[in-house]
Amino acid sequence: MRTNVRKLSLTALFAVIALIIFIVEAQIPLPVNAPGLKLGLANIIILFMLFLGGMWKTQDIFMVFLVRVLLAALITGNAQALLFSFTGGLFALLVMLSMRTAFKGAAIPVVSVAGAIAHNAGQITVAALITSAGVFVYLPALVAGGIISGLLTGFAVYFIYKAHPKFISYIGGMNNDIR
């Protein structure tokens, strides 16, 4: 199999961008305190890749997700945080993939919201396993928060797609250079 250099470097680039967003996000304080509640901005990259199509397959997205989660854990040095971001991210990824397959016409923000809710649900499930089922009282706050952050990231990606169609089709792997 021929190694696709462009794809390889883009994958690495995606992982790094996701990581940077993750780190920046950790610095943003949230108005509501709930275990497992996160802005989920790092999801932007996963969402972006999900709609690229072309040469980008599910396993590539998984690869970026794994690299991002593991590197983030290495940087923060927090094994517990790894458990949270991995479970949350995995829930989000699986839900978004199934949304994408089941509803071909679903808009980016819609898929994003579903992913964000799944992300928070995954995180609170881990929290419940670590502490007790009592943490589920936070679920409504996490769902509402997930909807807001999901719309935020969803529209961010949507506008990137809308504003730069040529750029998108270029990295999507249509083999046509940017003109």
Binding site: Q80, F103, I108, A127, T131, G134, A141
Partner: protein
């Protein structure tokens, strides 16, 4: 891919409904009041302390040092974590709780403080 296709409008409506419902549920849950409150302190899932908040006259500090430090302040009718060595500080930022069902949670140190109604004002439980 059309943003405002029929299907997507339905999706956005569903999202809107879920949002409104979860906000309402959250507001209702936050507003639940309990009387004669007792705080249950759980560490690593084990109930380690039962504090009758309505019986507290003078406020006092309560430090839990085991796989992480959480310093709890117990006041008349209220309990809160005032400092902790965890990175997230969610437990400290939650502030004081005294009635209602929102617990204080410190996931890194596996600490949980829950409020329940009713109290027998006990100093300790043998068992």
């Amino acid at each position: 891919m059309k943003l405002l296709s029929k299907q997507n409008i339905v999706f956005f409506c569903i999202i809107g409904v879920i949002f409104v419902v979860s906000v309402i549920v959250w507001l209702v849950v936050s507003d639940i009041q309990t009387e004669n409150t007792t705080a249950l302190v759980y560490k690593n899932g084990v109930l380690i302390e039962t504090i009758s908040l309505s019986a507290v006259e003078t406020e006092y500090e309560y430090a839990i040092n085991d796989d992480g430090v959480n310093v709890i302040l117990v006041k008349s009718g209220e309990i809160g974590v005032i400092s902790a060595d965890c990175p997230t500080q969610i437990c400290v930022n939650t502030g004081f709780i005294g009635s209602g069902v929102i617990p204080i949670i410190c996931i890194p140190n596996r600490l949980e403080i829950r409020i329940v109604g009713g109290s027998h004002e006990l100093d300790a439980v043998a068992g």
